[in-house]
């Protein structure tokens, strides 16, 4: 771009209250994952055939489903399953991406070229489709979809780590360490990894939100933990055929996914803006 600009306008950064709200939602989600019994009003798996399809009200905040189970309590207990899958997937994505990215950054031209071309190929697929390919190979279930989502996310993380590590390795302090005779594994661990970690954490806070959506999506397709596990995507799948009679069975679990994802995105974007300052 050669043209001059009269005023360089900055993208408006969401303010502090929004950031705080995002963090508050995530903190609440963490509490729910750790202590679901504090929040649940009913046994999530208790069926009550006298009280099926109760609309949301004081007794049942989110209503009851076709088996008379309390949707709110199932959403509460579902948090653990859904968020653990997403956390596991993000961990796999970050660790795998770190490993590949660092290997690519230090491995010399041939290793770098081969790995990054592989990453190029993998980035040609939407993550959900890549995750479905992995599921087709290893099968469904909670652990397997975490592996699938994590694997599908590796290329994006690897790309960022490679770029970041590439600049860090050329920096003067790493050069100095190398000249002083510090071993490669040591300066990688002491200098490169901590300096790469920042952008990766930012990316992971947005990626964590994506992982929650993808996990819920895969469960929605019936590939997640088996019935009758309370899991947000699976609950939505059950409820979507009952929308005409009881919209709340599908809408509330989905709303919870949406809330957590928006919180992740808000926090992630704020971290991004902060790290650029």
């Amino acid at each position: 771009m050669t043209a001059t600009t009269f005023t360089a306008r900055r993208a408006p950064a969401a303010g502090r209250p929004v950031f705080a709200a995002g963090l508050a939602v995530l903190a609440l989600a963490l509490l729910v994952v750790l202590f679901p019994a504090l929040f649940a009003t009913h046994d999530p798996d208790a069926t009550d055939f006298a009280r099926t399809f109760q609309p949301p009200g004081a007794d049942h905040f989110f209503g009851t489903d076709q088996l008379g189970r309390d949707v709110f309590s199932r959403v509460v207990y579902g948090a653990r399953v859904s968020l653990t899958i997403a956390l596991g997937a993000t961990a796999i994505g970050v660790l795998g991406g770190m490993l590949l990215g660092l290997l690519s950054a230090v491995g010399g031209r041939i290793v770098d070229g081969v790995l990054m071309r592989c990453v190029d190929v993998l980035l040609a697929f939407p993550e959900l489709i890549l995750a479905l390919l992995v599921v087709a190979v290893i099968g469904g279930g909670a652990v397997n979809i975490a592996v699938a989502i994590g694997t599908a996310a590796i290329p994006a993380y690897a790309r960022v780590v490679r770029g970041q590590a590439g600049t860090v390795i050329l920096s003067e302090y790493v050069e100095a360490a190398r000249v002083l005779g510090v071993r490669r594994s040591v300066y990688l661990a002491r200098h490169v990894v901590p300096n790469v970690a920042g952008p990766v954490v930012v990316l992971a806070s947005i990626g964590g939100g994506t992982a929650i959506v993808t996990a819920a999506g895969l469960s929605l397709l019936g590939l997640g933990p088996p019935q009758p596990t309370a899991e947000w995507g699976a609950m939505l799948a059950e409820g979507k055929d009952l929308l005409g009679t009881a919209w709340w069975i599908a809408v509330f679990p989905g709303m919870t996914v949406a809330l957590v994802v928006v919180a992740f995105t808000l926090v992630g974007r704020n971290l991004q803006v902060r790290s650029l300052r």
Partner: protein
């Protein structure tokens, strides 16, 4: 014609071919990784008799060295032979041909809708006061991050069941396309609107925009004739990304709305671990991505006269 254009096109073509080859190789490897191909072909049920096992191994050439199998697979792909579905006992190519229509309809409708929404949002909000901008960037954030399958569910609950304006699930025809296309278009529209608005605002601070206004032209003229073209550039650049968003989203949207299509086929094939079908759809999505990016690359000089001017110099 740019002097380097031929070389440029050749390089882009080669890199596209490389990505496709990589994707085909990945798909070949996954079939091997899956292991127990005979079991996969026969599906769950009784373990095969040694007789049957031998027959299948011979028929599919499973005891050939893997390099031979790999070569055969690539040759088959080049001739358009996508393989045979394990579970449906049909050629994969025919399965895809049967299902691609509804998905294309949905994707094209969603792509048009996302551009339309993004342009509308941009025109209504660019250069406005702080309050409007804050509200709109909030909406854009929601559009980008809300799970499309939940948006689809809410739309269905509202507009098919509570207020029966649009037909419920599985409806053919244009009326049945509105809700799924909207749910699918929303995330892409959010991203496009963000980028377009920024680009439009930047363009309108440039000298050429100021001089257009100084000649007495109105904002409408400025945008219609000049700055919207600038704002359209990132949309073109993002086409590949939009395609990916639509392809991934279609899997879930088709499921929520019980529409037939490739996404539904992919989901059920992944569930039954029908790898020939899964890998064929994966390859198809990679091919679409490569083609779109190639087209964008070739179109770019046509859309952006600055690139042509640069080449002429």
């Amino acid at each position: 014609m740019r002097p380097g254009l031929g070389r440029h096109i050749l390089l882009r073509l080669l890199s596209g071919v490389f990505v496709l080859w990589g994707a085909a190789t990945l798909c070949f490897l996954t079939v091997s990784l899956r292991g127990d191909t005979v079991g996969a072909i026969l599906g769950p049920g009784q373990p095969p008799t040694p007789e049957l096992r031998r027959q299948i191994i011979a028929e599919y050439g499973l005891d050939d060295p893997w390099l031979v199998q790999y070569g055969r697979r690539l040759r088959e792909l080049l001739t358009g032979d996508l393989g045979w579905s394990y579970q449906r006992d049909q050629p994969v190519a025919r399965l895809l041909a049967d299902q691609i229509g509804p998905t294309l309809q949905l994707a094209v409708a969603a792509a048009l809708l996302s551009v339309l929404l993004a342009v509308a949002a941009t025109l209504l909000t660019a250069g406005r006061g702080r309050l409007v901008r804050a509200a709109v960037s909030g909406l854009e954030l929601l559009a980008v991050s809300l799970p499309n399958f939940w948006v689809g569910t809410v739309l269905l609950a509202l507009f098919s069941f509570t207020f029966p304006i649009f037909p419920a699930v599985g409806a053919p025809g244009p009326a049945g396309l509105v809700l799924p296309a909207f749910a699918l278009a929303l995330p892409a529209a959010g991203v496009l609107a963000q980028v377009m608005r920024q680009e439009l605002e930047t363009a309108e601070t440039r000298p050429f925009a100021v001089s257009v206004l100084a000649r007495g032209a109105g904002l409408f003229h400025l945008r219609a004739r000049h700055t919207l073209r600038h704002a359209a550039l990132p949309v073109v650049t993002l086409s590949g990304w939009v395609l990916g968003s639509l392809a991934g989203g279609a899997v879930l949207i088709e499921n929520i709305f019980a529409r037939p299509g490739l996404g539904r086929l992919l989901a059920s094939a992944a569930a039954s671990r029908d790898l020939p079908v899964v890998t064929a759809i994966v390859l198809l999505s990679a091919a679409a991505f490569v083609v779109i990016n190639l087209v964008v690359d070739l179109l770019y000089p046509l859309i952006d006269p600055r690139l042509r001017a640069e080449a002429a110099r």
